[in-house]
Amino acid sequence: MTEADVLKELTAVFHDVFDDDSIVLSPEMTANDIDGWDSQTHVMLTVAAEQRFGIKFRTAELESLRNVGHFAEVISKKLEAR
């Protein structure tokens, strides 16, 4: 899966979790840029992403996922390591 593919799939995760198909993700976006991205929805995002990509985040990785670029990067690394 290329970085672009990961970002596309991750966009679908955001659409599901926020129930908003108009969200367009870019790597520099953070929790501050998306309405409703709070600590509760953050858990939802991580769990939904785990489900979609078939991966598991380590506790230590959770905080870095608040930035879209890092989020996609961590996912890519995990997919490569498989």
Binding site: D16, V43, M44, V47, Q51, T59, L62
Partner: protein, 639 residues
């Protein structure tokens, strides 16, 4: 993890959700959400469903509108961990069970304050159900690992006393039914298999605490959300609680599993207002036995000891027979010749007997029509039926034609049928009384009574010949559970269809100004059990020497036997003794209680104007007690 496996798979739930979102009317969106909530769904779908429903549910909660197919339900969650992520799943599972749930979440960890002090917000919310969701990390029992069993028991009994105080406050302050969640063990073992032999080892402690919670709950009329037991049985797969979610957000239940948790709470909520299912309708060929009896003959079907397959079918029959023992009505709906289908019940290995089946329909007509027939034969609603059929095509047709009927998806292997039917939670109970255990027999007896009636030359002779004895007592602790059960599940012979929790019934019954009656009936065929409940109280809308009949309901199996006339006799004399001069009858029409529209007129009441604030369809009736009313019945009354 795969969950809610008994629900049908939607071809594309995500797309259906996006489509439904475009509907502009909130109530129409709620209707779509209610329909889609019946499909298998993960937590993301469930959260989207909740958003689809939320505006409509909000309007219902505020009283701006009603949705006739949904019953409002207010649930307060008082917890020692994060539960906000579970709320959408509770509401959506509620929709699937025809409840319009509003959920109040008390501030994190503030469950004691919410119950021990005045909580104006919670009081305004007026919860019907208060769920105490506690966990192992909350207020751990402070004991050294080497503590003795006696020290452990003393600490546990102190904790139980505290819980009981909270339960009592929940009842007194909010008249709510309490649901206590059992404690899920959180710590990995310290000693391995030796764990349970060390009294103060974490796992042994929690086990003991849960046992004590269960016992206290039974004594105090508290319901359980037995999460510890569900976790131990593996309902939640590998883990209910993921350590990472606890560290990240203090979530005891992982968001992945929220739909299942919501479902387990919603089924208790539904049961508490009498909305559990009542009847298991079974297909025959390849559901109760292997093979087709019409083709293979009674000797050719696979059933019983000797083959793994025969044993699996037998095990499913045994499970159905056990459900019948606890009061679930059994029925058969099969495409077969009736004589061939009935002959199969003479197979020597059958665990189910023909007499266990209260309604037996075997013909070549469509199953949807036959299920309608079964419901009317048994005088129950389609929403009381669960239909089990191995044939996916039949399941699909019935789901489409009769959305009210629950039709579980079944596993490929019949060996897994019992667990699947159990997992779906259709028959969740909030009480179990001796009357439940004999219900099956009562249905059989009723058939005999109907036969006796056709022999009797006239109605009067028939009624006299039944040798009926009616016993009426105030609703006391012995009658509380069964009375509440009847109040919440009776739909047809029910004048006002007011639903009450045990706590509320207790409150009405203990008021010295009220008159409550729990009515039993025996006849020469046997004991019918507690078959009717009446609750009357003074009301400020009427003069103080007039008694309003708040609730009057009766089981349909004693219909047409003049029980209502005998009950009126008892009520009138009790009311006169208490100083009342008149009875006020109230009839609130619903879709199901048309049979009692003329009830008060038949009993000699005259219609009177409704009080100013009453709904327009409700009718009011008055019976003057200062004149003698003749009683017309053939029942010996013991009051």
């Amino acid at each position: 993890m795969d969950q809610l496996l008994w629900l049908a798979q939607h071809p594309d739930l995500g797309a259906a959700l996006s489509e439904a979102k475009r509907e502009s009317d909130a109530i129409a969106r709620l209707g779509m959400a209610t329909r889609l909530a019946g499909y298998r769904r993960d937590f993301t779908h469930t959260t989207r469903l909740d958003r689809l429903a939320s505006e409509g549910l909000g309007a219902i909660a505020r009283g701006d509108c009603t949705a006739p197919e949904l019953q409002p339900m207010r649930i307060a969650l008082l917890s020692s961990h994060t539960v906000d992520h579970l709320v959408p799943s509770i509401r959506v599972a509620g929709l699937q069970r025809r409840l319009a749930c509003s959920v109040y979440v008390a501030p994190y960890g503030m469950y004691r304050q919410a119950l021990l002090m005045e909580d104006a917000e919670l009081a305004r919310f007026a919860p019907q159900l208060i769920v105490l969701a506690l966990d192992a990390r909350d207020a751990p029992l402070q004991l050294p690992l080497e503590a003795s069993q006696a020290e452990v028991d003393a600490a546990i009994s102190e904790r139980i006393d505290e819980l009981r105080l909270l339960w009592r406050r929940a009842r007194e302050r909010y008249a709510a039914q309490v649901v206590q969640q059992t404690i899920v063990p959180a710590d990995p073992p310290l000693f391995g298999s030796f764990e349970a032999l060390v009294p103060a080892a974490p796992f042994a402690l929690i086990e003991r605490l849960n046992a004590a919670i269960r016992e206290a709950a039974r004594d105090d009329g508290v319901l359980l959300l037995d999460l510890a037991w569900e976790a131990a049985r593996g309902s939640y797969g590998d883990g209910l609680a993921e350590p990472v979610r606890w560290h990240q957000a203090k979530q005891l239940v992982s968001p992945n599993l929220a739909p299942l948790y919501g479902e387990q709470l919603a089924r208790i909520a539904a049961a508490s207002v009498g909305m559990s299912r009542k009847c298991l309708v079974l297909d025959l060929d390849n559901t109760l036995w292997g093979g087709v009896v019409g083709d293979d003959g009674v000797d050719g079907i696979k059933l019983g000891q000797g083959s793994p397959c025969g044993e699996a079918f037998l095990a499913f029959q045994r499970y159905a027979a056990l459900l019948a023992r606890r009061g679930i009505i059994l029925a058969v709906c099969s495409k077969n010749d009736l004589s061939v289908a009935e002959a199969a019940f003479k197979h020597p290995e059958m665990a189910l007997k023909r007499s266990d089946i209260a309604a037996f329909v075997a013909n070549w007509e469509d199953k949807a029509g036959n299920l309608r027939r079964i419901a009317s034969m048994l005088d129950i609603g389609l929403d009381s039926l669960v239909f089990v059929d191995d044939n996916p095509a039949e399941r699909d047709i019935v789901r489409r034609e009769l959305p009210e009927v629950a039709v579980p998806e079944l596993p490929d292997d019949v060996a897994d049928y019992p667990a699947r039917v159990a997992a779906a939670g259709y028959f969740e109970a909030v009480s179990f009384t001796p009357d439940d255990a004999t219900r099956g027999r009562n249905y059989a007896l009723n058939a005999e009574r109907k036969a006796a009636m056709s022999h009797a030359t006239d109605m009067e002779g028939y009624l006299r010949g039944l040798e009926m004895v009616l016993t009426a007592t105030p609703i006391g602790s012995a009658e509380l559970a069964r009375s509440t059960q009847l109040i919440n599940k009776t739909n047809q012979f029910n004048l006002t269809t007011r639903r009450y929790s045990e706590a509320e019934v207790e409150r009405i019954a203990s008021d010295p100004r009220s008159v409550t009656l729990a009515i039993r009936l025996t006849d020469k065929f046997g004991d019918n059990g507690l078959i009717s409940v009446l609750m009357a109280r003074p009301d400020e809308a009427f003069p103080e020497d007039e008694l309003l009949i708040d609730s009057w309901l009766m089981s349909c199996r004693v219909l047409g036997r003049q029980v209502e006339e005998a009950v009126l006799d008892v009520l009138a004399s009790t009311a006169i003794q208490a100083g009342y001069k008149a009875l006020i009858g109230e009839y609130r029409p619903t879709e199901r209680n048309g049979m009692v529209a003329e009830h008060f007129a038949r009993l000699g009441f005259t219609q009177r104007p409704a009080p100013a604030d009453a709904s327009s369809e409700t009718t009011f009736w008055r019976l003057d007690l200062t004149h003698d009313t003749p009683s017309r019945h053939f029942i010996e009354v013991k009051a």
